[in-house]
């Protein structure tokens, strides 16, 4: 079971959260200007790493806030939790 430290509410079980998938995906500034392929990549292309994954979660059953999590997709260890507006921590970086 994944235990996530909500930046506001503290450690909770995964059942309280919603996983929003990969984070730090940048929406094209001018969608009309990008090609179909680029737009498809924005919509569908995902890193899907075996190991450290930067993803976003929402504490759906708590404060309803989205935040970022750096999680190992094999061991489910959480390496870092940081807010949507924070920068991506370096791999191996400790909790924010």
């Amino acid at each position: 079971m994944i235990r996530i430290e909500c930046p506001w509410c503290g450690p909770r079980s995964e059942a309280e959260f919603t996983c929003g998938g990969q984070s730090h995906i940048v929406r094209p500034a001018d969608p009309a200007a990008v090609s179909d392929r680029e737009w498809a990549q924005y919509l569908y292309q995902r890193d899907n790493p075996k190991g450290l994954h930067y993803e976003r979660w929402r504490h759906t059953f708590g404060c309803r806030q989205w935040f970022n999590v750096a999680r190992d997709t094999v061991t489910h260890e959480i390496r870092a939790v940081y807010r949507m507006t924070d920068l991506k921590p370096a791999p191996g970086g400790e909790g924010v």
Binding site: R12, S13, E16, H59, F61, G62, T85
Partner: protein
Amino acid sequence: MAKLDRATPLAGTGLERAGLCVAENTGLGLIRLQAFHRRPGAVEELTARLGIEPPGPGSLRSERDRQWFWSAPGEWLIAIPAGTEDAVLGALRAQLDGLFVVLSAITDSQVALDITGEAVREVLARGSTVDFHPASFGAGNCVLTRFAGVPVMLASPGRGEQILLFADRSLARYLLDWFEAASIDC
């Protein structure tokens, strides 16, 4: 008929067992205060205007006949005597005039349950994975959690072992039924 009657979700019904009592609290009026917390200084501004520091995550604060419960970043639930919503809203609006905050009366959207009895913490621990040991959930604490599969706020205002539960009014009957099933051995 001249006026509409008010009827709370459970119309006062509840649950009584040797070790657990669940009773609808119909005496509370509720106001939600939302500030735009992403703007730096927004919360500080608010605090300055209010003259009191609203409680932080996981806690509640009593001030005169108002109880403040933290419910999200920049968002609080304010419990007041039922019926005084308009007066309090007016006062707060005046106090916070000019700030970008949203004040709403949400009394009717919620059901409030008083949960008492020696089995309270044991039964709560059947509905949520939060640690309800007094050492981590004591007087002055409030948590928003997934309880019995639905979002609720649980608060320990400090009156003995009494726990206050807030949930959406539409879930009131479900929650009461759940408590009945979950406390079968109490």
